[in-house]
Symmetry: C2
Subunit: 384 residues, 2 copies
Amino acid sequence: MLKPRLLAPGPVEVPPAVLESMARPVVHHRSGPFKELFVRVRARLAEVAMVPGEEVLVVTGSGTAGFEAALLASVPAGGRVLSLHAGKFGERWASMARRFGLDVVELDAPWGRAIEPSRVRDALRRHPEVDAVTTTHSETSTGVLHDVEGIASAVREAAPDALLLVDAVTSLAAAELRPGAWGLDAVISGSQKGLMVPPGLAFAYLSERAWARSDALAAAGRLLPSYYLDLRGERARQAQGQTATTPAVSLVAGLDVALGMLLQEGNEAVWARRARLNEAVLAAGEAVGLARYAERPSPAVAALRTPDGVDAPAVVASMASAGIRVGSGQDAAKPHLLRPSVLGYADRFDALTLAAAMEDALREAGRDVPFGAGPAAALRSLAA
Amino acid sequence: MLKPRLLAPGPVEVPPAVLESMARPVVHHRSGPFKELFVRVRARLAEVAMVPGEEVLVVTGSGTAGFEAALLASVPAGGRVLSLHAGKFGERWASMARRFGLDVVELDAPWGRAIEPSRVRDALRRHPEVDAVTTTHSETSTGVLHDVEGIASAVREAAPDALLLVDAVTSLAAAELRPGAWGLDAVISGSQKGLMVPPGLAFAYLSERAWARSDALAAAGRLLPSYYLDLRGERARQAQGQTATTPAVSLVAGLDVALGMLLQEGNEAVWARRARLNEAVLAAGEAVGLARYAERPSPAVAALRTPDGVDAPAVVASMASAGIRVGSGQDAAKPHLLRPSVLGYADRFDALTLAAAMEDALREAGRDVPFGAGPAAALRSLAA
């Protein structure tokens, strides 16, 4: 018997109650019961995103769809973007902006490192005419958590008119995130990460400042065209409890249940749980011979580097053969990185499972690991 | 007790086996098991779409997302589109094309009427320099089925270089549709209609001719930019059993089950069943005092007009109070149109239910309808 466990940084294990709610009969998206569900879901989503009472828009699509929608709604055609990238997703937003003909100034850091707010400040002093800055909060490919609060201050200081667009795909409901207090202009996320729902929904929050910019650009005819991903049209419809096109209603039903669970636990408690569990996985990884990869670890993913002579894909495959699906390294990091994660429906025993599975896999790769080293380190970390 | 029944032209009632499959634990989209599922689903989808062995691409989004992806992949920036519209969805494709700066020539017909191939031929003779023609196959807002085979011949004859892009959102797995034999260049559909899956997935088939056009336009740098809806990128990834971004894996799992059911019944049998059931609903509607609205009825939806003095929204609401959710009229047709549908997981007894529910509602609206007139007409029609 093989018991599959999904312990990757998204998609994640989904609570049975969420799965059950998705198996209920479909509700028509123009009916009263859907409207009631959708209004409640958007209110709960705003609470989880720490913008209670504000608008968080729901898009049927991946996180990439959400980011594209926010970019097209807030940056003028031919505008200039400062693109922070220190991993695959930061690179994706730079590449997307270039695809749409924007003038992209890049500020990068090696994979595993964070981009410091002071570097953002310096870059903006060299390029003050930037319309927007794009960054990841939790860079899922490297396990780094960016200091978006510090980055937001740097942007306000050096380029007060620039908007800050934040990819919070793996940080929402995982790391501390305060869009209002920190002054973030756009926050984008997806269903299949900290929110513990299957993939298929993206979320976009825009600040009042970003909406005002969007309105001004639209009035001047300066926005790039969009139709399916037109957040401005969605905003008008969603304020009425509707969507412009048919949404993935089953996923919305699942989201309602998942948000209820998260709000019952409380945002701060969720952040603390995820940080504690992720730290335990990192500690276990170190105890079995892996090395921490991220200089500023995101609670969403435990990026761990294999020692010389140990092939990361072999470790990932060995864990998979025991039913444990973790993230592998992406692009150039593939040969030496694995990315286990307790981002989903996960507790201390899942962290312990990861600890033991990594220990088994490293031993199988020929490393001399004392029995129980991984779990012992995880339990010690959890008790601290 | 109120037993809800979803008998609208999408979303539709989903088979329990499909719902069950969606409630299973999430499979990682970069895993072997997902790849195996996705390859099988795409093969089955091509069979249902009558293009066996060819590529049908899966997009996470609504049918509108699928249409936008096909348009952006095949029509040059600033190109000219002949947009056929005789209902809300035809209008949507014209409006989308205009939004992207295309030069849109419109050919319309009143709601409830079909656009004849001969009119398309004449329009193209006046505008032979058209890059693409857009049309609905089944126009969901009016219940009209366009003769896309005839339209395709007209396009080939009058504007041999123009591509024909077909919205088959409600016609796939409902009406006869033969993209290869008829020479359709793009066929777009969605999950929540004839395929009997909840909303959230769109499908796009492009002919070899359309892909060749797309390749040539891309090489010349003449395509409009797209990122999330970039079908060219998706084509490369989906050929490897992957998607460019995280897909709605639970809906893909449900789709697999639904396609299996449809293929077991057989495409021709599915078309015949839907036509027979829809005709029974139309006959029942007439028997209780409603009038057929569509001159060339689509099997996907039974568009029925209320008699003078009977308000259609009141009829729709009256049916809803008995648990029967049908489509209401859209836009200007709202006051006098209702759109029941047996497009989903529906058999003769669902047609009978609709017949009785319409009869009840018309009687409630003060019409003198003999008891059993609706069901009798439906059963007579089904026996013919």
